[in-house]
């Protein structure tokens, strides 16, 4: 035992040695029937549950939307491909070249509607403050849903703003703390939108003499002939978000906003054209709550315009594609069991002594195990997740669910991210197994660290929102954020809670937290593996 060889043996593990280690670990993995079955079951469960949800899910508005059945509703998409709601009342004239539009807003009030009369109007209206009601000037490529646009507006509670192409938002006057930004005849607000080619600049002013530029935006490919005019819209109150489709709701009360504009001037309008009122909306199938009072009156130089809806990203009406990956949670159980056992079985069978005799540099043996396990899980997860999402989306659509559009990049992030998350968590379970050297203990620790936090914050929200956010920031469950499809938008009022599918961390930040846990566990495992006798 104490023989000392003067020169290092030729079989010293180098790069080739590590390849041998990988091969050995791969052989161990693929020859244990239970682990192969676990990985196959994980893949299959992800796929089958995706198909099941795709064909069995029925969003509530599909059967009883506020405006009747909404089964064939297709969510409009904006210029960036994101889901949008594009509903407002528009008093407009064609703008055929460069020009500008200016107006003064002297009032903006909102009412909430309840009940319906036999004529289809609201039975009762009640004054209410809608912080994101909007009244102002807009230049839009057309009245089609999801058209490119730029607008300046006063809002019910967020001051003057310039918004463009649904997701863009810049504050103007009245953004200071405590300033509600409400307009009145005593303190009106002047707005101006000027257009040069496809560049649009928004201004606001308190007195109409000194103008402040809010922002300049480029709407690529804007046609020479556009529509410019006044718009008013007001989102439903008490909106609920619905990334998780069971909570999809059309229960928000519709609101109407009414604004008064005067001193309206349009430069560059087509000569001889007159103001036209158009109700821009997504049709009767839209689940978005809209009021019934839309219209406009023109008296002297003043316009009184009433509108309902929103020009904004849609966070309420659709089904995000990540619901198709619900099987991940079942798959994770199988993966965590296999991952923990990949390590603890060696201790139970005594194989670890052979493994460590063959690879005396113990950290390398652990690394080889982690790489093999991670790669196998990633490949299996990728197959399952890709099939579930790609086959599930047409099924979801065919069963009448409005599916949120997702860019190819988002789809790749959700699918590959889910597979990567499964791989990282499998490695975490492996490392916990190496630390505890006890199969049941390692599996319990891994499942309670990964699945239980998600269960208590999102699925059965027993924890209050503040605590839930905190839990999803620091536990290994933070990585589940990689599945979030629709981001939270500050300019859309909604309850962005974990139970509505919104994670407190950005997708990659959440994933990084999980990776940090896995790295920490691996480091501890390597340390223990070196220090302890096997």
């Amino acid at each position: 035992m104490t023989t000392i060889t003067p020169s290092r043996p030729a079989a010293r593990p180098g790069r080739g040695g590590f390849a041998h280690l990988l091969r050995a670990e791969w052989t161990k993995f693929r020859t244990v029937r239970g682990w192969v079955i676990a990985i196959l079951v994980a893949t299959l469960v992800t796929l089958l549950l995706g198909l099941f949800i795709g064909s069995h899910s029925h969003v509530a508005p599909c059967t009883d939307g506020p405006n009747g059945p909404a089964c064939r509703y297709i969510i409009p998409t904006g210029p960036g491909g994101e889901a949008v709601t594009d509903t407002f009342y528009f008093v407009h004239r064609p703008l055929t070249a460069d020009g500008s539009i200016t107006a003064r807003v002297t009032s903006l009030t909102e009412v909430t509607e309840s009940g319906t009369t036999p004529q289809g109007g609201p039975a009762h209206t009640q004054p209410v403050l809608v912080p994101w009601s909007k009244a102002g000037l807009i230049v839009t490529a057309g009245a089609g849903q999801g058209s490119a646009y730029a607008a300046v507006m006063v809002t019910g509670g967020h001051g003057t703003r310039m918004q463009w192409n649904y997701t863009g938002d810049t504050p103007g006057l009245g953004k200071g703390a405590g300033e509600v930004g409400g307009v009145s005849a005593a303190s009106p607000r002047w707005l101006r939108l000027s257009r040069a080619g496809d560049v649009i600049t928004g201004y606001d002013s308190a007195g109409g003499t000194s103008w402040t530029k809010i922002g300049t935006v480029t709407l690529p490919g804007l046609a020479p002939a556009v529509q410019a005019g006044l718009f008013v819209t007001s989102p439903g109150s008490a909106k609920q978000t619905s990334q998780q489709i069971t909570s999809a709701s059309g229960t928000a009360a519709p609101t109407d906003a009414t604004a008064t504009f005067d001193r309206v001037t349009l430069h560059g309008g087509r000569p001889g054209s007159s103001w036209t009122g158009t109700s821009v909306n997504a049709g009767p199938d839209s689940p978005y709550p809209t009021g019934h009072e839309a219209g406009y009156r023109q008296a002297g130089g003043a316009f009184t315009v009433t509108g309902s809806g929103d020009i904004a990203p849609d966070v309420t009406g659709g089904v995000p594609i990540d619901v198709l990956l619900a099987g991940l949670f079942l798959a994770l159980v199988a993966v965590l069991v296999a991952g923990a056992q990949f390590m603890t079985a060696e201790y139970r069978r005594g194989l670890i002594r052979v493994t460590l005799a063959a690879s005396p540099r113990r950290g390398r043996a652990l690394a080889a195990k982690a790489i093999v396990l991670g790669a196998v899980t990633f490949a299996a997860g990728l197959a399952g997740a890709a099939a579930a999402v790609l086959i599930g989306i047409p099924l979801l659509r065919a069963s009448g669910n409005p599916v949120y559009p997702a860019t190819a990049l988002t789809e790749v992030r959700v699918i590959a991210g889910t597979a990567a998350l499964a791989a990282v968590l499998a490695v975490l379970a492996l490392a916990v197994g190496a630390i505890l050297r006890h199969g049941a203990g390692a599996v319990t620790a891994a499942i309670t660290a990964v699945i239980l936090p998600y269960l208590l914050t999102a699925a059965i929200p027993v924890l209050p929102a503040g605590a839930a956010d905190w839990v999803l920031r620091v536990t290994p469950a933070a990585g589940l954020a990689i599945r979030q499809v629709i981001p939270a938008y500050p300019q859309v009022a909604a309850s962005y809670t974990p139970s509505s599918g919104y994670f407190p961390l950005a997708p990659w930040a959440g994933f990084a937290v999980t990776c940090a846990w896995a790295a920490l566990a691996l480091a501890l495992a390597a340390c223990f593996l070196r220090r302890r006798d096997a």
Binding site: V337, T448, L455, P464
Partner: protein, 258 residues
């Protein structure tokens, strides 16, 4: 049967891990419950909170540790080969399983009673300071309230039934890691799947038959009409799961070589 009970009691009692795991189950339950109570804020009152249910949040975590104790009571014997000695000493295998179930249920009932008492005590002390107490119109957490008593006794029974479910699963699967994975998957994952089905009817049915969501209906003291299943019926569903697991485990125990 008496010898069997004595044997199982001696085996469980003399295993150091049993004591520490049960202590951990009680401590974790009480700690998570207290943390949940401390995290709830309702200064203005009028929140739809159920004081007893919040005070018993720790059961969600405590049940996992209880499940480990139950699984190890069987799988530990398979891991060490002890099971062959046990079955040689008591050839009537169902007697072994029944004795294990009885001893385990007794231990978990005691542990659960301590955990539930500590949790409710913590909730009763913390919650009123956070706007969820009798001064804001909420029912006090007291032993004279029938609904609170139901939640308390029900939660203790819940833990015992989880132990029996885990025992049955471990007897059927033998492998500790696989058994605990199956039990925790059944408990934790079914409610998540229910949320994602996107089909209200299907989701409600899943919540009615899933052992955790059905069983924990017993914790509700307010808003009983919004529950997927009534409290005692829910605990009955969990009891059916536990009985099913024990029967399956018993059949497999009798029919397989150890």
């Amino acid at each position: 049967m008496r010898e069997s009970l004595h044997a199982e009691w001696t085996k469980l009692r003399t295993l150091a891990s049993t004591f520490w795991l049960l202590l951990a189950a009680a401590a974790l339950t009480a700690m998570v419950s207290a943390a949940a109570a401390a995290a709830v804020r309702c200064p203005a009152g009028g929140c739809a909170d159920d004081p007893a249910k919040i005070s018993l949040t720790g059961i969600y975590l405590g049940q996992a540790v209880v499940a480990v104790v139950a699984v190890m009571a069987v799988s530990g014997e398979y891991g060490t080969g002890m099971i062959r000695l046990t079955l040689a000493a008591t050839p009537r295998r169902l007697t072994v399983l029944a004795a294990k179930a009885a001893v385990l249920a007794g231990l978990v009932l005691v542990t659960g009673a301590i955990a539930v008492f500590a949790s409710l005590l913590a909730g009763g002390l913390i919650l009123p300071g956070h706007g969820i107490g009798p001064s804001h119109g909420y029912p006090a957490i007291s032993a004279s309230d029938g609904a609170v008593l139901r939640a308390a006794f029900g939660s203790v029974l819940y833990l015992a039934l989880i132990a029996l479910l885990s025992l049955g699963a471990a007897t059927a699967l033998r492998e500790a890691a696989a058994a605990i994975g199956a039990v925790l998957g059944l408990l934790y994952v079914l409610p998540i799947i229910a949320v994602f089905t996107g089909n209200a009817t299907l989701s409600r049915h899943l919540e009615q038959i899933a052992p955790m969501t059905a069983g924990l209906a017993i914790q509700a003291t307010t808003g009983l009409n919004t529950l997927p299943i009534s409290p005692w019926a829910g605990l009955g569903v969990l009891a059916a799961w536990a009985a099913g697991a024990l029967v399956l485990g018993g059949i497999l125990l009798r029919s397989r070589d150890a």
